[in-house]
Amino acid sequence: MSAPSLAPYIAKRPWLKKWFEPLAKWYCNAAGYRQLGLRADDLIPEENDTVQLALKRLPPKEAYDRVFRLRRAFQCSVSHQLLPKGEWTKPEDDVPYLTVVIKDIEAEMKEREDLEAMIVSKRERNAKEAH
């Protein structure tokens, strides 16, 4: 689900990160989802098996909150309004709650594929015994 990103490259270099941070903050704010009370992870396209499974694995409380945020944002969008300023998502609340689960699932799938593609070789001693 992830598109190629420069973010890890930048995050690894403290000087570069310091440089880019204000820009990133400005961008997140300008994207406008926080004004609708959403979190960045709410915007992940959910029309695929991985994300569907991840959504199933969310704890009940988080799944409920997510649906609440989405419906509230939808209402706002329909009525062409923003939430009152007090209800905007605060930057410290904007944490990845779904990405973590998705990463786990992707790791699982990758492991499965790796194991499928594995080439089995005999143990040295056994191989000798069997010529």
Binding site: R57, P59, E108, E111, R112, V120
Partner: protein, 460 residues
């Protein structure tokens, strides 16, 4: 009568044969010693036992004193059992399965009333890998909610359905709960969905795992592994398991399980099962071991050891039709036991057979047993015991339990000796005691047909 030459030839051949294989001769029922005996040891607080069977495979088991008897909430043991060999901190479920497949091994987890057993069967060379795996499962399984929801819960639900579909299982479990109420009486599978909808969660299972996999609470038992090797690996791989039982757990009561008795009737349309139970004997490793109960069980018997014949035990003759099955079992636990007879078949036949069975039990209790019958029963009991001992799976659990409960391995030779030493008086005395205590009677099936204990003449 015989021509002289042929007699001589036979004798010569016999002598020759004896001379060829003098060492392999053995008395008929003398158990092979040596390989039958478990060697036990202690590695940094982890108890282990092994016997070195000659053979290319090893069976390794972790036997934990965490059966349904010891669970704090209903369903915990089952939950923990189904969590065995799932994601650990180091490996995923898939990796564990695939690695075992590649090594050609078999992994298995099951529970009984008293024990939770994690078992691995593999080729001899792979011992270190599997000791490590068991250590890992015990110390670092991850109890994650989604694994519970996606993999564990459906399995528990299947077990529940399976339990409901088997009248015999239901009757036996019901007889146990009549006999012992809580503790030993806790059913091994859930009869309703309440346990796992109400009490079970990953948190409670994780807390229970700290109890089940604490060093004083489990033992490692191996069949077909060298003692020194096993000792070395157990020393190495069990550092991370908790060294003591969790402090916030209520201590397991040491009092002997009390026998109550009573009657329960459950309607069921999938078949008929009738169980008549009496107070029995503990295991050989327990404190209340009575070998005469084993003899009594085989005296009553019911199952045939010969094909196409009803068998010769007392209850074998009681079955009302060939389709009616009667079976007597002495279920042995660490501090108590239940001697029970199960009757299954069509409702009418079960009814007739039950009447007959009670009559025979009353006769036996009144001392109407011939010496010959007791001899037969003793031989059968001894054979069963020794055969059971050769069965790797049974030996593993009993030995593990013995180690955890009383730091004594289950030595089958000694059990056989104990059965040999049973006198006629002891059997008669034990039989008399049966009817003095209350019976545990459980009827599952067509309740219109199945009799009440009172009708049969049993005291409940």
């Amino acid at each position: 009568m015989f021509p002289r030459t042929s007699v001589c030839r036979g004798a010569q051949r016999a002598i020759r044969r004896q001379a060829q294989q003098p060492i392999q001769r053995r008395g008929l029922a003398a158990p092979a010693s040596g390989s039958f005996q478990y060697q036990s040891g202690d590695a940094k607080g982890v108890k282990f036992a092994s016997r070195d069977f000659a053979g290319p495979t090893t069976t390794l088991a972790l036997v934990s004193k965490a059966g349904t008897r010891y669970q704090l909430f209903p369903g915990l043991t089952e939950g923990l059992e189904k969590f065995a060999f799932r994601n650990t901190n180091r490996r995923s479920t898939l990796r564990i399965v695939r690695e075992s497949e590649l090594l050609g091994a078999e992994l298995n987890a099951y529970h009984t009333r008293e024990n939770l057993v994690l078992e691995a069967k593999f080729l001899r060379d792979d011992l270190p890998y599997y000791v490590e795996l068991l250590g890992e499962v015990a110390a670092s399984t991850k109890y994650i909610p989604h694994v519970y929801n996606e993999e564990v819960l459906p399995l528990i639900h299947f077990a529940h359905k399976q339990f409901l579909a088997r009248p015999t299982d239901m009757a036996i479990n019901s007889a146990h709960s009549l006999a012992f109420h809580k503790g030993l009486g806790t059913p091994t599978a859930s009869a309703s969905t309440t346990p796992y909808t109400k009490y079970l969660s990953t948190d409670s299972i994780e807390a229970f795992s700290k109890f089940a996999y604490a060093k004083p609470n489990f033992a490692i038992v191996a069949n077909g592994a060298e003692h020194g090797e096993l000792s070395k690996w157990v020393n190495q791989f069990f550092d991370e398991v908790p060294a003591a039982l969790p402090a916030d757990f209520p201590p397991v009561s040491e009092a002997q399980s009390k026998y109550y008795g009573g009657e329960e009737r459950i309607a069921h349309d999938g078949g008929n099962a009738f169980v008549i139970g009496f107070a029995g004997s503990s295991t050989f490793t327990g404190k209340f071991y009575k070998p005469e109960i084993a003899v009594l069980a085989s005296l009553l018997g019911g199952e045939s050891s010969i094909k196409w014949s009803p068998g010769f035990s007392l209850l074998a003759k009681a079955a009302a039709s060939p389709g009616t099955h009667v079976k007597t079992k002495s279920a042995i636990y660490s501090d108590a036991g239940l001697l029970y007879t199960t009757i299954t078949g069509s409702a009418l036949n079960v009814r007739e057979t039950a009447t007959e069975v009670v009559k025979i039990i009353q006769n036996v209790a009144a001392g109407q047993i011939t010496k010959e019958e007791i001899q037969k029963a003793k031989a059968a009991a001894k054979f069963k015991e020794l055969e059971y001992g050769q069965d790797v799976k049974a030996g593993l659990e009993l030995t593990g339990a013995g180690l955890v409960h009383n730091t004594k391995a289950y030595q089958i030779d000694e059990v056989a000796k104990a059965v040999d030493g049973v006198t006629e008086e002891a059997v008669k005395a034990a039989a008399k005691l049966l009817l003095e205590s209350k019976a545990s009677v459980s009827a599952v099936g067509d309740l219109f047909m199945l009799p009440y204990a009172e009708e049969l003449g049993l005291k409940v």
